[in-house]
Symmetry: C2
Subunit: 161 residues, 2 copies
């Protein structure tokens, strides 16, 4: 492991912490390949018709999520740290090239992957908020449940023969 | 030069572009050493009584600027890119550890240093804003004049025997 795991701030962070039985390399690939990400990123019945990835600090990470009613949610943030197969950090508070961007409740997300003894992945996804109110609001919107359902979709996708 | 110079967005960026007759290493030291930065960072008669620097991506960059009337302006952002003697990027839109932070008109700043033929420094300081309105407002507050006066103070400081 080449990174220091994030120390959780229980008031301002939301965390999904799970073990999955697919290796870190496949989880990483699913997170960083647009054609794969579009297949799992939005918890069904939402869809992800568009995804743009420039995998370097300051590079764009953009997704469009579409509701069953056809409403699109377009978000363009940027990556901050990229350690292949281990750690990915991005934020919605900055756009490509680190330009500040307006937006409701911007959060910074951290994805941490560690190989388990059985060859699976200890998977941590953390959303950092600026204050406890926004963290609570995000939690009540079903953030963890949504990320958990998406992770199930990711695992099913990379296991497909 | 190990970086790609920033392409200016004339609507949303403000730029100070100058040559100074001190080498990049001394400019870098003045920007990254709290005891030095406190001596030049605020254009006089403003002062910088406090400065905190953790020089790595995600590390804190905090300054307190004090007006002649004794009002303090406390700002804590974080670094995004650190290429010694060449390029420094930080933002006020994220605090230490990349946590989003509230604040009026957050900007991201880029400092680019290139050695000139005569051993001085081609000095670029750029402030990136989310929209033309905030960029204009910052410019009208005297941003460039302030950064220029501070640069004069930096040069005088590092030349001092």
């Amino acid at each position: 492991m080449t990174f220091t795991p994030h120390t959780l701030d229980r008031d301002r962070d939301i965390e999904l912490d799970r073990e999955v039985d697919v290796p870190p390399e496949l989880v990483w690939k699913a997170w960083t390949t647009p054609e794969l990400l579009k297949q799992w990123f939005a918890p069904k019945p939402y869809e992800t018709p568009e995804c743009e990835i420039d995998l370097r600090p300051g590079g764009i990470f953009r997704t469009v999520m579409r509701s069953p009613e056809g409403d699109d949610f377009d978000g363009a943030g940027c990556y901050l740290e990229v350690i292949p197969n281990e750690r990915l950090v991005w934020t919605a508070a900055l756009g490509p090239g680190y330009r500040p961007r307006a937006g409701d409740m911007p959060f910074t997300a951290i994805l941490e992957l560690q190989r388990t003894g059985s060859g699976g992945t200890h998977y941590r996804a953390i959303a950092m908020h600026q204050n406890p109110e926004e963290s609570k609001q995000h939690a009540e919107m079903g953030f963890i449940e949504g990320w958990g359902a998406a992770l199930d979709q990711l695992v099913a996708l990379v296991k497909r023969p």
